[in-house]
Amino acid sequence: MASTDTSTTKPLAGTIFYILLALADRDEYGLGIVEEVAHRTAGAVRLGPGTLYNAIKRMLSDGLVEEVDGPDDPSDGDPRRRYYRITKPGRGLLTDEAERLERLVVAARAKKVLPVRGRS
């Protein structure tokens, strides 16, 4: 994927990072992603529906996520829900971005922007 190559150098848009992160350990559907992101950010990031689906659409066409069948348990869902799974390129990109963020955090610590880990 051409986009993944360039993405390693470019900062990843926040929305895409959040979505990939939400999908890192399980398949999710749209609202599930929103809830997960809201929960992780303690309600600070609430993905709007248009933003969310534009991003998903983009990620689908870039091959970062794929659509999968929902869970088999029929009680757990409206059949219209679409579930998404992170793809290999998506995971690679997520890792790259996490590492980039980590390098930034390390740098921030070195510049005492952040307290050094362990003392807090």
Partner: protein, 903 residues
């Protein structure tokens, strides 16, 4: 249901493709935000602000993406690209593109495709099968030369209420002499003869025929020759013609005809010719001509030498070139008039001739049943089409959004209709192919099940008419259900459909579906009512009082050749000896014999038997079959003596002439007075001729249904065989032993009675009754198959419509549950919908069924076409089917989770 208010407004701002792909989920997320903020300060305001901010950020991207996709034409998750208006492929390319596209689309809904193709295949298959039979019986020409010109002439005695009687020799001669009416007129009378084979006698089915009969039919012997067409100096030609089967069994290995003879009792006859294999004289089942005749003997050249009052010759006439049926009918009527003038004894009968096409008459018994079945086929076909229509309608509704999307992406309505029609064409083709294949196979199975007398043709041809029928049926079916998508397309509003995330149906579509469904129920009801009435007919016929007890009876036939046993006393003595021998067999309870048994139609010989006191000029109107029976006949067959006595040992050739009549004759001849002791001028067979003799009635028996289980007796006079010893006897043996155990004993017993006698046609009497019921049973069987198909198709249809309706109302049901509705109410609601549809159909179907069953009247017995119980029972059955078909969707509806349903 689309979101309302601001959410709805924002939602509808997104491009259609976005809403199609993500609409439902977008709404879900928006609803979550709204719920989350609902409890907070300025929650609503903050929700609105967030929604607008989100829209401002995402809308441009969404539109950009939609436009790029549209330019590219292909996009993941979108329908297959459909050529846009203006640059769509045309001609063959366009067609094949559409076909491929439609096939893909059908493949994506395998259940729908399967249900539709199966419905069509059932309808077209049943149609092809029945039509193949109808074609073979009613449309395929008879296997004679120029068969359209062949006619049958029957006698009618309106004064006696008798119809379809044979003609007398002089009457046939008059028909022959009528100028320019017939090219030739032939006659036939069936009987039996004893043929000696390897020194042993054998009774074979024989017929006396006019020497020109084969020329009339245009049939040439495949070996040897027929009789010369012109009269020769001898009054009766010599020689016989035999069937191919008799030739092969009696003359195995013979290759030359010359010098071959048939040894009949009392003389040896040269074999003139062997008829082609499979040759039959095709006659209506009530015509008195058996299917298989092995031996053809000549009648005199000049038929006017025969007795005018003896009506036994069945007439086949070949109309002269250019004579049409109508004028021929007029002219035979005038011949009958002349016959009455010449032979004054015929005057009182009101003697009339009826001329009918041979083919139409030969199949007259099968025709009403076959036409009824063809009608059922038509209904089933319409039912199947309506089912596919209703399936398609449901499908096009769920696809409304797809269609709307296509429309919004630039496909013209015409284009979309073309696409839907192409799907219809593919479904029809698949259904027709499967149907014709299944139908052809089914026709062959039906043909093996057909009863004797439905038709006498060897095979069901798959000819151009059958193919044309199948194509016609397919086109009809296709046209009917092509209406469905057209109907739904006409109501398609892209904006509505896109704005509606469930793709629910418009009221009009609801109505069309309900209409199709009711029509299905109505047609199914008609088929079922017809089949039920026929079933009751069969039951009633089986229960009908025949006037005797056929079960436990074994019958066989013995020819008492007059040349071998020329005197009356000899034949009467032989009959008594046979009765004694057979009666002494182990396990035999009783033995009796008659000139012919009930339901054995072709030994009949009609002669007048007028009661005393009727003026001589009116005697001819009392026509009865000549029936001579032995002493224990009535007792053996289980006939009931209503008054007086049966025949006794003392009723012999020397004693007073006596007779037993049945109730029908007594009622007609003596109108309520006691018939015992009254006299009848009946024809006794004495010294080789039928001789009118005054006989005294000594007993009355209950009527015996001797023509058919459904027809009452037309009046019978029974004479003691000892006083009217005919040339053949059919024995009835009541025994507790099975047929196969008795056969050997019977053959031996007959041989012991006299070395020149042989038993033939040994069978159980039940087989005759069974044979008489076979056509009805065949029609009932087909009716049952049709009913099952109709019920099945209607059930599929009801299920799909109710299930679809339930799916559309998921949110309504969710809401109801959320508001505290009992789940049983939901269930009742869904069941009620299905039942309501069926009741509408039943109400529409009852008048249709009543009209249709009127046409069945001629097939019914013991049950009225408007039998209210039958109607009610079938209606209840349909409601039951509707309830069962709705049960699945109803249970599903009760399990709806209100939270999810309303999101």
């Amino acid at each position: 249901m689309s979101p309302r208010g601001l959410t709805g407004f924002v939602y509808r701002c997104y491009p259609a493709s976005f809403r199609r792909d993500f609409g439902a989920q977008w709404c879900e997320v928006a609803a979550w935000h709204r719920r989350n903020l609902a409890g907070e300060t300025f929650g609503r305001l903050r929700y609105a602000a967030g929604l607008l901010r989100d829209a401002a950020r995402s809308l441009p991207v969404a539109y950009a993406v939609a436009m790029t996709d549209r330019a590219r034409g292909v996009r993941r998750g979108t329908p297959d690209a459909l050529p846009m208006n203006g640059h769509q492929p045309s001609g063959w390319d366009g067609l094949s593109h559409d076909a491929r596209h439609a096939a893909r689309s059908l493949r994506r809904s395998p259940l729908f495709t399967l249900a539709a193709v199966a419905s069509l295949a059932m309808g077209i298959g049943a149609g092809t099968a029945i039509f193949s039979v109808v074609n073979a019986v009613l449309l395929e020409p008879l296997p004679y030369e120029d068969p359209a010109r062949l006619t049958i002439v029957w006698n009618e005695f309106p004064a006696a209420g008798l119809a379809r009687l044979p003609l007398s020799g002089p009457e046939v001669q008059l028909l022959r002499e009528e100028p320019d009416l017939f090219q030739s007129v032939g006659g036939i009378w069936a009987t039996s003869r004893s043929v000696v084979r390897d020194g042993r006698p054998e009774t074979v089915s024989a017929a006396l025929v006019t020497p020109n009969l084969f020329a009339v039919l245009g049939v040439r012997p495949h070996m040897g020759r027929s009789y010369n067409a012109e009269a020769s100096s001898a009054p009766v030609p010599t020689g016989v013609l035999i069937s191919d089967e008799l030739w092969r069994t009696h003359y195995p290995g013979a290759t030359e005809l010359s010098g071959q003879t048939v040894q009949l009792e009392g003389g040896t006859q040269p074999i003139l010719g062997v008829l082609p294999p499979g040759f039959e004289v095709l006659f209506p089942p009530d015509g008195g001509i058996p299917e298989r005749i092995d031996l053809f003997l000549p009648l005199p050249w000049d038929l006017s030498v025969l007795t005018p009052a003896q009506h036994y010759i069945r007439v086949i006439g070949r109309l002269a070139e250019g004579v049409d049926l109508f004028s021929a009918q007029q002219r035979v009527a005038s011949v009958a008039q002349r016959a009455k003038e010449i032979y004054t004894q015929l005057a009182s009968t009101g003697d009339q001739f009826t001329l009918l096409p041979l083919h139409a008459d030969a199949v007259r018994n099968a025709r009403p049943a076959l036409l009824a079945l063809l009608g059922a086929v038509g209904l089933l076909l319409l039912l199947a089409s309506a089912n596919v229509a209703s399936l398609m309608l449901a499908r096009t509704t769920t696809r409304a959004r797809e269609m709307a999307l296509r429309a919004s992406l630039g496909a013209s309505r015409r284009r979309l209709v073309q696409l839907l029609l192409m799907e219809g064409v593919l479904l029809t083709l698949a259904g027709a192919l499967a149907g014709v294949a299944a139908g052809h196979y089914a026709a062959r199975v039906l043909w093996t099940l057909r009863p004797v007398g439905v038709a006498r043709i060897d095979a069901v041809p798959m000819d151009h008419r059958v193919i044309l029928f199948a194509v016609g049926a397919a086109i009809l079916a296709g046209t009917v259900f092509a209406l469905a998508p057209l109907l739904s397309m006409s109501t398609l509003r892209p904006a509505n459909a896109l704005g509606d995330r469930t793709g629910s149906a418009s009221p009009q579509q609801h109505r069309s579906r309900a209409l199709f469904m009711s029509a299905e129920v109505a047609m199914g009801l008609t088929i079922l009512v017809g089949a039920t009435l026929l079933m009751q007919t069969l039951t009633k016929l089986k229960q009908a009082d025949l006037g005797y007890e056929p079960s436990g009876l074994v019958s066989f036939k013995v020819a008492l050749g007059e040349r071998r046993f020329p005197t009356d006393a000899e034949r009467a003595g032989l009959a008594a000896e046979l009765e004694r021998r057979i009666g002494a067999l182990p396990g035999v309870q009783s033995v009796g014999a008659g000139s012919h048994l009930p339901l054995k139609t072709w030994a009949n010989w009609a002669e007048p038997a007028a009661p005393d006191g009727v003026p001589e000029s009116e005697r001819e109107s009392f026509y009865v079959d000549h029936r001579a029976v032995t002493r224990r006949y009535f007792e053996t067959i289980g006939a009931r003596i209503a008054a007086g006595r049966g025949f006794a040992e003392s009723d012999n050739g020397e004693s007073d002439a006596v007779a037993v009549v049945d109730q029908a004759y007594a009622a007609r001849a003596f109108a309520g007075q006691d018939p015992i002791g009254r006299r009848v001028l009946a024809s006794q067979y004495r010294n080789g001729a039928f001789t009118p003799t005054w006989v005294t009635i000594v007993g009355v028996i209950d009527d015996i249904r001797d023509r058919s289980p459904s027809l009452p007796s037309s009046g019978q006079v029974y004479l003691p065989f000892a006083q009217s010893p005919r040339w053949e006897l059919t024995y009835a043996v009541r025994s507790d032993r099975a047929l196969d155990q008795l056969v050997g004993d019977i053959r031996r017993g007959v041989g012991l009675a006299h070395g020149d006698l042989a038993a033939a046609e040994i069978m159980v009497m039940d087989a005759l009754v069974d044979g008489a019921l076979a056509p009805t049973r065949f029609v009932v069987l087909l009716g049952l198959i049709f009913s099952c198909l109709a019920l099945g198709i209607a059930a599929i249809g009801l299920y799909s419509v109710v299930a679809y309706n339930t799916a559309q109302r998921v949110r309504e049901f969710g809401l109801r549950v959320a508001l505290g509705a009992d789940r049983r109410d939901i269930m009742r609601n869904v069941l009620g919908y299905g039942v309501r549809l069926s009741i509408i159909g039943i109400l529409a179907g009852i008048p249709a069924a009543l009209m249709t069953t009127r046409l069945l009247r001629s097939l019914l017995y013991g049950v009225q076409p408007h039998d209210p119980l039958t109607l009610a029972a079938v209606a209840v059955l349909f409601v039951g089917v509707a309830a069962v078909a709705s049960l699945g969707p109803a249970l599903h509806a009760t399990r709806i989770d209100p939270i999810r349903a309303m999101q």
